[in-house]
Amino acid sequence: MRVNLTRIIIFGFIFFCLSIFWLGLKKDQTYDTRNLIGNKINEFSIPSLDETNSFSEQYFLNNKFTIVNFFASWCAPCRDEHKYLVELSKNGAHIVGVSFKDKKSNTLDFLNQLGNPYKFIAADNDGKASISFGIYGIPESIIINRESVVVKKIIGPINQEIFKEILNIIK
């Protein structure tokens, strides 16, 4: 009887460990913040690039959807995605650009060179405001509705496929 009990315990333990390993291996280990869709973005205030105004959650009330794009002149993928932002803007998208840890002159040069798709440009000089948006690398774009709720989060540069997805959402 004692032998049986010991065997059950040992086999049970082995089975338990294998199940944990199996579940661990099956789990997707790629981390991103896309699963935070549905969260509200509030309690933030970012000064505008010209320091005359500020960007806060009140801004979202004015549009059905607002695309908040975090970019910088020093970020190469930001240059790649910029043409899609310009195109989105031509299609009626309301885009707010947040210049991330960048010099004002460099940001203006960047926009003069590639075009300005932004209705409002904010400057997150120390990067602290980006934390309120769950940003951990740029470029990142977030589509936010009138209720300040995240509808879609794009991590990395916008490409043709994502461009079409965004158009479908905002139309």
């Binding site: 004692r2 009990l5 010991t6 315990i9 981390y31 913040t33 699963n35 935070l36 969260n39 840890k101 120390d126 990067g127 602290k128 980006s130 934390i131 309120s132 948006f133 769950g134 951990y136 690398g137």
Partner: protein, 121 residues
């Protein structure tokens, strides 16, 4: 004069010990936060751009008088529970916290039962 010197020395030690405690608390928070863009490093260990930004935000929130729990819940709401090394004790993580103790207690009970039944030589 002597009493004044003693007073200043005491005040200095009390002030530095309070300041040291504050620093320890900030470092403890940094150590419990995962650097999301690094390989197995905490915010305390990393000099990455992301880690330095999170450090600034945490320091700001401490200055605003927010508690450790409030800081963690703010960051969890932005980055998910993955950002903290120590998962919160709630219904979702109940078994994660309780299982080691459960295994320890049941193991102890099993050992006790098996040893008690062992015939004496």
């Amino acid at each position: 004069m002597k009493s004044k010197i003693i007073f200043f020395i005491l005040a200095f030690f009390i002030f530095s010990s309070i300041h040291a405690n504050e620093n320890i608390k900030v470092n403890d928070i940094f150590k419990n936060l995962r650097c999301l863009v690094c390989q197995g490093q905490s915010i305390a260990d990393s000099n990455s751009d992301f880690a330095s930004t999170v450090k600034l935000v945490v320091e700001d929130q401490i200055k605003q008088g927010k508690s450790e729990k409030e800081i963690y819940s703010f960051l969890i709401s932005k980055y998910g529970e993955w950002i903290v090394y120590k998962p919160s004790f709630d219904t979702k993580n109940f078994f994660l916290w309780i299982l080691p103790y459960l295994v320890l207690v049941s193991g102890g009970i099993i050992l006790y039962v098996l040893l008690r039944k062992k015939p004496k030589l």
